[in-house]
Symmetry: C2
Subunit: 584 residues, 2 copies
């Protein structure tokens, strides 16, 4: 029995033991095909995201090898592909900028260190089962942050397409820098970049339709070809740059990329930067986790599978540690690569391991071919990818649904664009929490009556209901706690003062009261005392089990002038009978 529990626990920690045991030829076929397609797609994407993070291009490839293997061992999603993604690359750039590192080597080591720290944080969160922390990122905050990040990234890549130098971590900074550099635009670079952009936009918008209608391909085949089409832009512009000797005309290319593999371990590490990386690493961990889990959940539900959120923390933690130890930078489960993996038929995480082998070969033998790859092409790849993340429609949807959600989206977008990613997310989360607290501090209180022909009670202002002049029933639509206790006290007493001559009873209907804290208890005691002075009894109805347990620990129920009724209907009948008796 004990052994079985341990074996179950080990299997929960190493999902590979479960799917690995049942692995068959069919799985192998599916996984191999998926791996080939994902490898082709990942080469340009990984290079591009590394440049976005301010790192040498090959770092993007390094960050796509061991992390995939680590995720294959620990991950619970069958289709998730981890590696560099746009938003995390942007956050990496924003985290490393304040360090003011001058040499590329230092910057690269700091990026690996960031991945290590973030990996350790994710691991600890997973072991402590703290996946719930991610829930404090509301949907409006995430949507606003992703949209703003997409805009920021697109703007930051514009310099490569224009062939100018322009730095900045906020939209105003980037736009100002671009404006000042407007005289330096390199026309040849612009032509290459604009051509790649045009081609890629066409691919995204129309190629699938053309392949299906003109060539008669199936929708899924056409979709996969569409996803790997960016490789054509890479190959085309690289050949063009080589044949026409574009670098001599001022077109920036990737240049010499070291062949072979990164050295494992962290050589030349400067430990003193760790304190400055802790905050950004925490944010990268949480944002990366939320992005990854959403993708994994979406794909799992399509095949009626389930993922295990806390184990995902461990898997992402292991992936980031693997990335940091192999010269990479922070990684997470990416939407585009996972969807391609899924659509191409990946059946188990082994597909990820095979992709890793493909990228390993690319890192060893392919990098010299990338010498003439124009940076403008990579920038175009990024711009097209991130603009699909931009969804300004969320502003309208949030506005229609609720002003509080709109405020959260709007603030997150504005601050992310105007003050950087860290401040944007932090402000969004804090504002969401404050708005929630503010709303619960101004609760709705409804005076209710009996719906005729039922035992159900509703708001007298919205429904035709039966009431009785000798008592008033107030339904309190919020947990009672310190921020609303005194207000509730005022509201109840103000209602009572409206016809205190007639009233003999006040019933508080507690069906929506999920908690009563110590401050609220004091307010209830005060209400009870004040009503007693007015010779009015205070009753409660529909008090929930957990709340009743709490109230039983103190003297309030002994001092209560009235009763606690199981249901509001019981209260209604009892008080009406009492009133009729006293009248007779």
């Amino acid at each position: 029995m004990q052994d079985q529990t341990i074996s179950t626990r080990i299997k929960a920690r190493f999902p590979i033991l479960t799917w690995g045991r049942a692995y068959d030829r069919q799985d192998l076929n599916g996984d191999l095909v998926a791996a080939v397609i994902v490898t082709i797609m990942l080469i340009p994407q990984s290079l591009a995201y590394a440049l976005l993070a301010g790192l040498p291009a090959q770092v993007g490839i390094y960050a796509s090898i061991l992390p995939l293997v680590a995720y294959a061992i620990f991950g619970t999603s069958r289709a998730l592909a981890v590696g560099p993604v746009a938003v995390v690359s942007l956050m990496t750039a924003s985290a490393l900028a304040p360090l003011g590192l001058q040499s590329v080597a230092d910057y690269t080591v700091a990026a690996a260190l960031l991945a290590l720290i973030s990996g350790a944080m994710l691991l600890v969160m997973g072991l402590l089962r703290l996946g719930l922390i991610a829930n404090f990122l509301s949907h409006p905050v995430i949507a606003g942050f992703i949209t703003a990040s997409g805009l920021l990234i697109a703007a930051s890549q514009a310099k490569h397409v224009l062939g100018v130098s322009a730095h900045g971590h906020t939209l105003p900074d980037i736009l100002t820098a671009l404006w000042h550099a407007r005289g330096d635009i390199n026309l040849i670079t612009l032509m290459v970049g604009a051509g790649a952009l045009g081609f890629l936009f066409w691919v995204r918008r129309s190629m699938s339709r053309v392949l299906q209608s003109v060539l008669g391909l199936s929708a899924s085949m056409a979709g996969t070809l569409t996803r790997i089409a960016p490789v054509l832009a890479v190959v085309g512009t690289t050949v063009l740059a080589w044949v026409l000797a574009l670098p001599d005309m001022g077109v920036a290319v990737v240049g010499e990329v070291p062949t072979g593999l990164p050295s494992l371990g962290l050589s030349g590490l400067n430990w003193s930067v760790i304190p400055m990386l802790l905050g950004p690493a925490a944010l990268i961990s949480i944002i990366g986790y939320v992005e990854s889990v959403s993708v994994a959940q979406t794909l799992a539900s399509k095949r009626q599978q389930r993922i295990e959120p806390d184990q995902e923390l461990i898997a992402l933690g292991a992936s980031n540690i693997a990335s940091g130890l192999s010269g990479g930078y922070p990684v997470t489960g990416g939407f585009a690569r996972s969807v391609v993996n899924f659509d191409a038929g990946a059946r188990t995480p082994a597909a990820g391991a095979f992709t890793a082998v493909g990228l390993l070969l690319a890192a060893m033998y392919l990098t010299p071919l990338l010498y003439f790859l124009p940076k403008a092409t990579l920038a175009a790849t990024i711009i097209v990818a991130v603009l699909s993340l931009v969804d300004l429609g969320i502003l309208k949807r949030a506005w229609t649904y609720s002003r509080a959600d709109f405020a959260a989206v709007f603030t997150t977008i504005l601050l992310t664009l105007g003050a950087g990613v860290e401040l944007g997310v932090a402000a969004g989360v804090i504002l969401s929490l404050l708005l929630f607290v503010w709303k619960t501090s101004r609760p709705h209180v409804a005076e209710v009556g009996l719906v005729p022909g039922s035992q159900h009670f509703r708001n007298i202002l919205r429904h035709k209901v039966i009431t009785d002049p000798s008592f008033v029933t107030l339904r309190i639509d919020e947990s009672l706690y310190f921020a609303n206790a005194r207000r509730m006290e005022d509201m109840i007493l103000a209602r009572v003062h409206r016809n205190k001559e007639e009233l003999k009873h006040v019933v508080l209907m507690c069906s929506a009261v999920n908690e009563i804290d110590l401050s609220a208890l004091e307010s209830l005691e005060a209400i009870n005392r004040r009503l007693r002075d007015l010779h009015i009894q205070l009753h409660l109805s529909e008090v929930k089990g957990p709340v009743m347990d709490r109230l039983s620990t103190c003297h309030f129920l002994d001092d209560l002038t009235g009763r606690v009724f199981l249901s509001q209907y019981d209260a209604f009948n009892a008080l009406r009978n009492q009133n009729e008796k006293s009248a007779a």
Copy 2:
């Protein structure tokens, strides 16, 4: 009509116009008697609190004159007496210490400036009707803060009783300083201080009983005499110090106090300290307001009167501005002085104005008599007063009632003692809010069934109820919002998976759902989709009016596979009938 509204508004702003018009001889008698008693009590108290704030003794008197007049004009409480109080004096000392001012004149001007800023803040909060902000100070935080402040103040006064020099703003600092100064104890000072302490404790504990039993006085008369007895200690030790020439033996006395009145206005003001005073001023405003309003509310309810919280902000704002302009420091409505005023028969705020006249005379003619007043006596007065504020029982009460409330009290006490008043309150408020959010992020979900013979539904684990195998009803005991949306989704789906073969319907009973935000809406949509894949219908019941209004603005209700029932009983009947029909 328009004129009448304006006149009502003016009357609301100047309550003096209401009570002043009806003022009669009986009011005058009551107010005059109360004023004499309060004046006698206030002289030593005001001096002592000024010393506690680190100010020259006479500043305490100045702060008790014009503020009383301002409150008489604007205040809505009939009995509240404003002036220097212990906690605000401590906070003033703590606010001014970081400025590092060397001269007494600069320090005094800074204290007046603090009163001005705090007054302006209170005024603005009153005009914007922001009295609700005070509700974010929970009862445990206030109780913990007052208790810890009492201990801090008592410890800070110990040096005067021992005749040593020992500074510090946290309990460890003060105790360490006292320990280091243990060799310097002045025995004569200690005898005076201990004598005063003993007398004052006896007064507080036993004098009222002795007066009633031995002299046969009435309880209220005995109570009033007890309150003004500290004057005896002042007079007695002053005479002793004069006759025995105690200052020559190292006993610290008040010394020369300038006769006459402070100059109005702020001469020699250093505006550059303003930014450093904004935070402390905000905290002093809110703490002072909460203290004042609680006292005012307690006294008002004893005479079935009402106070107007937002107008109280304006009145306290005016009092503090008056204090700042007349050489005083931050003031608020004090418990002890207000109770004495009330018990002594004050009938209108005019009693406060008469007290102001009494203190004005004291400031003009009495101060030379205070030359020989030992500081140890004043310290004893403070110690006895503040130790009555200390209520460590709140720790036990909070522990019994709820761990969250206990955490708030404990943290507030610990940090106030260990890190100072500002950090203590701030940590208490933030912790209370975080605990509230944390609790609402882990909501209670109960599976409910019909209570036999009623139309009422309760938890199947707590009550004997009727259920049906074809559907499950889950009562969600919390508003649905971003912090709990995904968890709720997991809980509901986990419950459904337990017997998804049998289940045909899931009903979410929303009687306790007071809000559904955009994140929760997405979760509901996801639940709806997942259940549809399992061929299970999703229904809602008892959705409240405001929540229903919100849901009607989007597509959710159109996509819902099931229905929205007015009451849970309707849902139960409809689904049971449907099940029986499909079985037949």
